[in-house]
């Protein structure tokens, strides 16, 4: 189920058109990856610190977009906070890293088109957090 959320978030992000839609899809993507990451953080796993770093950056990325002036005020409900996910930690890490690569690219594309300084700053900051997640997880990702 959780992997499906990641795939769906990637789909929404790819299909988003216009600044407001991209911001909305980006915010949703960060929100959707949060429970997926927290569910897989295990001190016994080699990816423990990388997953922890990624989860923290995901929350920071969501917050960066959350205060963007062009983010639609009414948004779809966030994904459930926890649940039994499918796929190994490595597979989840790879999927989230892939989503973040897409996130960083879409936000970087959207930034120059933003007329409002707040929107531009939000796009840049969120893109940076997405890159950090990718950096933390890419060591184990299939990318």
């Amino acid at each position: 189920m959780q992997m499906n959320e990641i795939a769906a978030a990637a789909g929404r992000l790819q299909q988003a058109s216009g600044l407001a839609a991209i911001l909305d899809a980006a915010c949703g993507a960060f929100e959707d990856m949060l429970p997926v990451l927290w569910d897989r953080i295990d001190p016994g796993e080699p990816l423990f610190i990388a997953m922890l770093t990624a989860a923290t950056c995901a929350a920071d990325g969501r917050d960066a977009v959350l205060f963007a002036p062009s983010l639609p005020p009414h948004r779809r409900p966030a994904a459930p906070q926890a649940g039994s996910g499918q796929g190994s930690v490595d597979v989840v890490a790879g999927a989230v890293a892939g989503l973040c690569m897409l996130l960083a690219a879409r936000l970087a594309e959207a930034a120059p088109s933003a007329a409002d300084h707040g929107d531009r700053a939000a796009c840049h900051a969120a893109a940076r957090y997405a890159s950090q997640i990718h950096e933390a997880l890419a060591g184990a990702s299939p990318l």
Partner: protein
């Protein structure tokens, strides 16, 4: 480079006085007038220390004053003794100030050195305070509560008494020395001797308190370890540092985090430093640090087991387990903090930045990779045990580093909790509206966090605090057992708890410590180190002066001196209370009388003070302490 500590200046004061009496004492030389002036300076600075401890009590009426604990009574008697000593040293003389040139007399120079050391030491303690409203003092560091704690106040009084005793011995020796070699009029000599007699009374007062509640060796260590309130500079590991440097770096970073977090907790709730960015950074890096401590403690347990230190190894294993539980609680807090936000995201407080450094320093200790970072990648082989501890002597150093980190992790949740709680009260804790139930209709992507969400978050931090405290306590027990340098943190925590009411108010009179002295609940142990009463009495002194060296004769002379002491004290205690006491100057009128009285006062028998002070009814000592001579 480590920070200056109070112990540095205390040691300098003792060193300034020269070797202890009986171990190569100085021959009395110099001018009585010059020594009196220098002694007045010492007495004045000692008086300032005691004034710091007793200031608040002056506002309490004598009749309203509750029965005092022995140390509180000693505090007032010490103030009285110093006040009287100062009076004798100024009596009839001009207002004495520092002369334009250094003193010529050896004893005066030694006393001046003591004055400088004690003054600098007090300045060091004062760096932890700033003037507050009225006569109160605001805390400027987490050490302030330790400085004013009953254990440190007791230890400080004991040190003042020890110095006074040594000074009295040297000063009286000069006052009663043959006039040919020592310039000084008879009245000047009498006044100097009378001042020294009050210093003996001071020592006796503290001894009486010590007998009822001895100063613990750990409390003296704590007092000596109080650092100047000057944060060491930030350092980050460059890579490839030896273990000793990594331990030192981890300790410095842990101290910095504690101080910066303490400062942040004093900030207003709308401070930009209180942001989810900072809270997340602290939670994430503290999860990593506690994980690193878990690994390090496990490695240390293996090292000590191999060295045959089974008990220490068991303690370290238990501490490793506790650190693991603390990590799990930090992880939960990190998850919880991911579900809220503030409008100032992105801003990192100095404490949060330093918490990241602490994770880095402990990680470099825990892992084999000399370039390890928090984003190094998935696999991190641990540092081999022989690399962490190549010799058994290295264990305390590594334990100290882990203990410092764990103590920091135990204090952080409290300051974080205070910040979150304060921010919630002013509506700064927000949540994405997408995470709220459909009952909420908020036309914004974010909204003020509902009360139950804030409560859940605060409950997570209470859980972290409890688990982290258990880990710090477990490591602290090992640190005490192996005499690691960090053991002072255990005493500091006990001292801070003894001053809990003071900490709650965030401001303190030093006199709060005096009030707390009425509560004898602090840890105690009988480990007081006193100089032996090795000052020769008048008969033994005379025998030695005559060149007598036969041990049996010197022993007999010492016995006669002790008998004389007892006789004088018993006789003084027994006389009519209405009889007007002679002044201390009268008791120093002749050299013979002065020597006998000095010998009785130096005995440490608390009854001997009655020769100067008169027999006391209960509570009279405290009342008299307020009398200006």
């Amino acid at each position: 480079m480590s920070r200056a500590t109070f112990g540095d200046f205390l040691q300098a004061a003792h060193d300034g006085l020269g070797p202890p009496s009986g171990a190569g004492s100085y021959a009395p030389r110099g001018s009585v007038e010059e020594v009196s002036r220098s002694l007045l300076r010492v007495v004045t600075v000692m008086g300032r220390y005691v004034q710091d401890m007793t200031a608040g009590l002056d506002g309490i009426g004598r009749r309203a004053r509750p029965p005092l604990h022995p140390w509180a009574r000693a505090c007032l008697q010490v103030r009285e003794a110093l006040s009287n000593a100062a009076w004798f040293l100024t009596d009839g003389g001009p207002n004495r100030r520092w002369p334009p040139s250094p003193a010529a007399s050896p004893l005066a120079r030694r006393l001046d050195a003591v004055t400088v050391s004690l003054t600098t030491g007090r300045d060091l303690l004062q760096t932890h305070f700033a003037p507050g409203a009225g006569s109160s003092w605001e805390h400027r560091s987490e050490w302030a509560v330790v400085v004013t704690s009953p254990p440190v106040t007791r230890a400080l009084l004991a040190e003042i008494a020890l110095l006074s005793r040594r000074i009295a011995h040297q000063g009286a020796g000069l006052a009663l020395s043959p006039p040919a070699g020592v310039p000084g009029s008879a009245p000047e000599r009498r006044r100097l001797n009378a001042a020294c007699q009050w210093l003996w009374v001071l020592d006796t007062s503290v001894r009486a308190a010590q007998q009822q509640e001895p100063v613990a060796a750990a409390d003296r260590d704590l007092m000596a370890a109080i650092p100047v309130n000057d944060l060491p500079p930030r350092r980050v590991p460059g890579g490839g540092e030896p273990v000793a440097v990594l331990c030192e770096g981890a300790i410095t970073s842990a101290e910095r985090v504690r101080h910066l977090a303490w400062v942040a907790a004093q900030d207003a709730p709308w401070s930009p430093g209180m942001s989810t960015g900072s809270l997340r950074q602290v939670a994430r890096t503290s999860t990593v640090t506690s994980h690193n401590c878990h690994i390090l403690l496990g490695t240390l347990a293996a090292c000590t087991a191999r060295a045959g230190q089974a008990q220490i190894s068991e303690g370290l294993s238990a501490a490793a387990d506790a650190a693991g539980r603390a990590r799990d609680r930090w992880l939960r807090a990190a998850c919880a903090i991911g579900q809220i936000t503030t409008e100032t995201e992105g801003h990192l407080s100095p404490a949060a930045i330093e918490a990241g450094d602490l994770a880095l320093w402990t990680g470099r200790l825990a892992y084999a990779d000399p370039q390890w970072t928090l984003v190094s990648g998935p696999a991190h082989p641990g540092r081999p045990p022989e690399s962490l501890v190549s010799r058994p002597e290295d264990v305390p150093m590594a334990v100290a580093a882990v203990h410092q980190a764990c103590e920091t992790l135990a204090q952080l949740p409290q300051t974080e909790w205070e910040q979150i709680s304060a921010a919630a009260q002013v509506g700064r804790i927000l949540v994405p509206t997408s995470t709220l139930s459909s009952d909420y209709d908020v036309p914004r992507p974010f909204a003020r966090a509902p009360h139950d969400r804030v409560e859940q978050l605060l409950a997570e931090y209470r859980g972290v605090a409890q688990a982290s405290r258990q880990a710090a306590t477990a490591v602290g027990e090992v640190a005490v057992a192996i005499q690691a340098s960090s053991r002072v943190l255990v005493t500091a925590r006990q001292a801070a708890r003894a001053s809990q009411p003071t900490r709650a108010s965030k401001t303190a009179d030093h006199a709060d410590a005096l009030a707390a002295l009425r509560d004898p609940g602090a840890a105690r142990e009988s480990a007081a180190v006193r100089e032996p009463d090795d000052t020769p009495g008048p008969i033994e002194h005379t025998l030695r002066g005559l060149g007598v060296s036969r041990p049996d004769l010197l022993t007999r002379g010492a016995e006669l001196d002790r008998a004389g002491q007892r006789f004088l004290i018993d006789a003084t205690v027994g006389i009519n209370r209405q009889h007007k006491r002679p002044s201390a100057v009268m008791l120093s009128k002749t050299t013979a009388t002065a020597a006998l009285v000095n010998n009785a006062l130096a005995s440490g028998d608390s009854r001997a003070a009655a020769m100067l002070r008169g027999p006391q009814r209960p509570q009279q000592a405290e009342s008299e302490a307020e009398r200006e001579p």
